[in-house]
Symmetry: D2
Subunit: 364 residues, 4 copies
């Protein structure tokens, strides 16, 4: 394999360091990189369990990845060589380290909202919704960041040194709505995103609501008064539409581990029906390696994408009531997180976009 953009000379592997290695997002990218022919893990950082091998904290990695956990601000981690850093961290962490790593010549990909917006104003609004202080620690970097959804920003990502990986709900909504908004197959007002997620999306930290006995046979909506993911959905849809788009968003937790199913609703424009929408979606995604389009004749479920990097979009307009309807399915930990991250890294390092990703997940 020849050296691509950002890769070392010759056939050497591109080296990656991970911050936040022990959360589900960190594990996800470790699992993918272990099987990838073009990347090599060189250092892991975490905020807890520093000093122990990652495989002591997560025994399933024993023998496959036994790197020690370092502090992200330790000399060892800083000195570890790498061409890329993945910050698989919650909001507010990546912005502490991005500047340092970029200055060292490394590409930087962050999982949180820290670098999803190239505008400080939007970031501040985002932080407010999260209940965080509306202060960014590296505002000077925001103009350089790229929103890391390859299906929308492939070329910018390939050229970027700083990428903000998208939110899992946002990926499902954007891939489900982008063709409709772009091609005016949905009226711009009154779009609804009814989004159900498995609870791995909430991370590894135990909470009363995801304690097994409380969750095993219970579903519920949350943050009905405003979820922070709305911002990136609205921003990207507005860019696509060339006008301001607002969506109503209802996040819901269901008793499963992996999977997001988003039912996306709106009103059909005059004269637009199922046939036209389906054709437009098929055309729009014809060359996308990770988006499948189907219609209601084919029963679909999150099992069709579980463990893999695909988003399955089912077009099912309800012409009887004039309702636009698309159902979007993905694995929140793969296409909704680590898989998209690797897709971005592939682009950033000149590898085929689907390298290490073009495989079905295990079933069942």
């Amino acid at each position: 394999m020849a050296g691509g953009p950002g890769r070392p000379e010759g056939d050497e592997l591109a080296r990656v360091k991970i911050i936040g290695a022990t959360g589900y997002g960190g594990l996800g990218i470790i699992e993918l990189l272990l099987r990838h022919p073009g990347f090599e893990l060189t250092a892991l950082a975490a905020s807890q369990e520093v000093g122990r091998p990652v495989s002591e904290v997560w025994p399933y990695l024993e023998g496959y990845c036994d790197l020690p956990l370092l502090a992200a601000d330790s000399p060892e981690f800083i000195a570890a060589e790498a061409e890329a850093v993945v910050s698989a961290t919650p909001d507010g962490v990546g912005q502490l380290f991005a500047g340092r790593e970029l200055a060292a010549g490394r590409r930087f990909l962050d999982y949180s909202g820290d670098f999803r917006f190239d505008s400080l104003d939007i970031y501040r609004e985002y932080a407010r919704r999260l209940g965080r202080e509306p202060i960014h620690r590296a505002p000077e970097l925001l103009p350089r960041t790229v929103y890391g959804l390859a299906e929308l920003h492939r070329e910018e990502i390939a050229a970027a040194r700083l990428v903000g990986n998208p939110g899992c709900f946002a990926v499902s909504c954007l891939l489900g709505l982008a063709p409709a908004v772009r091609h005016r197959l949905i009226r711009p007002e009154g779009i609804i995103c009814d989004c159900k997620s498995g609870v791995s999306g909430a991370g590894k930290k135990p909470s009363p609501g995801h304690h097994f006995p409380e969750r095993y046979d219970s579903m519920g909506a949350y943050r009905l008064s405003g979820h922070q993911h709305v911002l990136e959905i609205e921003r990207e849809l507005s860019l696509l539409a060339g006008r301001d788009i607002r969506v109503s968003f209802t996040p819901q937790a269901v008793p499963m581990c992996r999977g997001i199913m988003s039912c996306l609703y709106g009103r059909l424009p005059e004269g637009v029906g199922q046939g036209e929408i389906l054709a437009a979606y098929r055309d729009h995604y014809a060359r996308e390696p990770f988006v499948l389009v189907g219609d209601a004749s084919r029963p679909a479920s999150t099992a069709d994408v579980r463990g893999g990097n695909r988003c399955l979009v089912t077009v099912a307009a309800d012409e009887r009531t004039g309702t636009f309807r698309v159902v979007s399915h993905l694995d929140n930990l793969v296409k909704g997180q680590a898989g998209s991250a690797l897709q971005n890294l592939n682009l950033m390092f000149g590898y085929p976009e689907d390298l290490g990703l073009a495989y079905p997940g295990p079933h069942p």
Copy 2:
């Protein structure tokens, strides 16, 4: 307890026979009647396992209900004395027996669509959507039937001899939308019912989609081209609105056993907001024993109603986008089925409406 309408003289218990005793709907009403002070089970019918005690088929009933399973058309079952018959059966069965039982002076409550409509035309449309032959075996009874949702038809149910118990999805949608439609707090066009159900709603019959390994970590929408429950939702809403109402309905299966969560969407009329809707809902349901109203300040989930006969309605309008939004939660096997059936029986026999039902389910 004094003899009420339809009850035997004096303090005697009203006797109940069940057709379809071994399905989840039959078990549900058996469980409730075993603890009810005013009813007594006298005979059980089923289409399979005839001749065996119900407690051999379902060992958890051993010692609590050991009645033998009879054929619904056997002389023993016909001769068994009762003041009421519950037909906990799929579509097409109740219509075979209702006439006979009514002629014998018994009240008849049916779980299926057989008696949800007092119009043969609507029944035929319903049957077509189900893929059934659009023929009703007892069309002469339809004008006498009452739609068995007590919150909408309390007085008619109390006076009825023939009741069609509502569908589980329909209960959740109707209780969630009725005040809005009645009081014009939602625009009549473009109403969306996004409904998630635990899989017990599909009954006890094994199927590939509900085989544990296929279902345990997978959710999906089904019948996107038209679910039969839409008809009863539209009919009742139209009656409430005094005009034709259509809804778009998306049924979804999630990996849990009990629970329906329906997210109900529409457009807010000019000048209508969360405060007005919440007040109207609270007022509308102020005297209902089995409907609770809340707002988004209180996190809600199906766990709040699991095992009990309540419907929890969360009002959460999204004023920013002009979106009407209500989330309705219930236990599909209780308020969505056997609990509503007992509520109806209580009304039909002059018992307090909540007798035997005013208890929380087991948690967790």
Copy 3:
């Protein structure tokens, strides 16, 4: 209903106060008492959320039980009238309050190990195994306490003022082994208790191991070096055998909410086989309201007892290998906890032992 032992004069209800009302054990006894014709809840204590109604903490109780949560050492809770106190608390709490409540003339039932042993030495050993300080705060009460497994100590419980409710694993093992040990149908050495539990047994407190994503598809053994429940199992079996009995105990967590299945193994004595054991078990438990005996011809599962107060004991000796084998099934939160507690309260107050308990749980 006439006044029984410990009940107020005339037909009045016996009043109950609960300490630890908001844990699963507290909820379990609240649910049972709400439907019991002879008891009335008068006060609830908890260590957290003091001042709020219990139904704010657990919304499913709203309208059914809205008592405020008090501090157990508050004047209001102390002054609240009651004939009985249930301490549904972890180890170390009941011993702080038992003396006070007994002195006020109340019966006291504790869920933890605090009063399972009438010997201070055994308690100390028990505390050590738990990793607790081996100090009992009310050692003078120990000689008066009774082990609260009605099937073994019915008469003592009926006469007791202080009862230590048994551990959930211990109930399953003792009911599964008692007839064999008593009637010498198992060799006294080498008895093995292989015990699987749903995770509600670990209580409501979130932990990494019971976080939904970690638990939903994972099982494991724990405390392999010694579980505190062994002590009460060994003590009771030794009393039954009239000699020292030791058991090897392997507690395991499986991804379910409710249910314990204990596979109990040993060696068959010379000449003892399945027929003899089954007959002895049937005879031994013939008059027990809450123990069912079956054999391997009847497939059994925890679903047969879920939500109810029964223990199902399946006798399945393996004569080919000379192995004694019995499988014991119960609901850890009912027969394993709150149900046994109510069974004990019924005995202590002269009610029929099965009052409020003789009902099947909801299925599925």
Copy 4:
């Protein structure tokens, strides 16, 4: 990669045909082979859905494996070129095709009991236990077959043309007991295998017991009167011990998808304790790529091996009671089935034994 035994000349991939491609066992080997650098899938056979692409039956494979499903006895399937055939089929199927494929010069690996025994007598006993007719359709092949557990028969497998892949329960019991039986660290009488399995082990066919609502919160033992897997466990242990070994086996179903946890019990020989056993196990498995040994100081669960090809063996003797105890954990669909199959194919074709298998499963 140079041509190894059985491989085509030069660097070509070894070609594989699969019979029974649409069951969980077939999917498992398809998933593994898709990512393996040395094998290529050339044809799939199934008994249902013949004529459709496998990816229509299992949409998650779309784009990754779209081979059509053929009948196993069709000319197309017979003519399809291959160096190996995997018969991922239930009992009785592989024996119909093995002779034909071996005669065509192909290696043949069967998942069922058809080729686990090189003795017709044992096969007949096995078939009787299964309730099958005790007739083998290719008895002449039995002397040539090898039991496909690499950890016990590595050299024979490498040289074999016909391999009987082991049963999933058997793998867990044999890997957990082999060192003890070989090195006399357990008394030969009274060995107990208490084995819990996720329900994917029962295959993809829906059944009442694995219908989601019946299984989601229920566990139970089954085939208490004799499970067919006992035979292969006893046969292999007897070979290791050099004397007749019998085990008592209790298979149990728990509400999870993937995972087997086997608690293996026996009596400790005089003078043997935890330290000696642990040392012996560590030594025995020191060079095994897919067996990990731990002790009770490290909490273990099936999550540690889920999705991967490892067996985790926890040594936890209970010296206080003289009880030998080992807990064995694996993924029934990987190390218990398709993973072991690929391990065997690697051996049979001269690839590194862990090629395509040395990766952790996805977590969570």
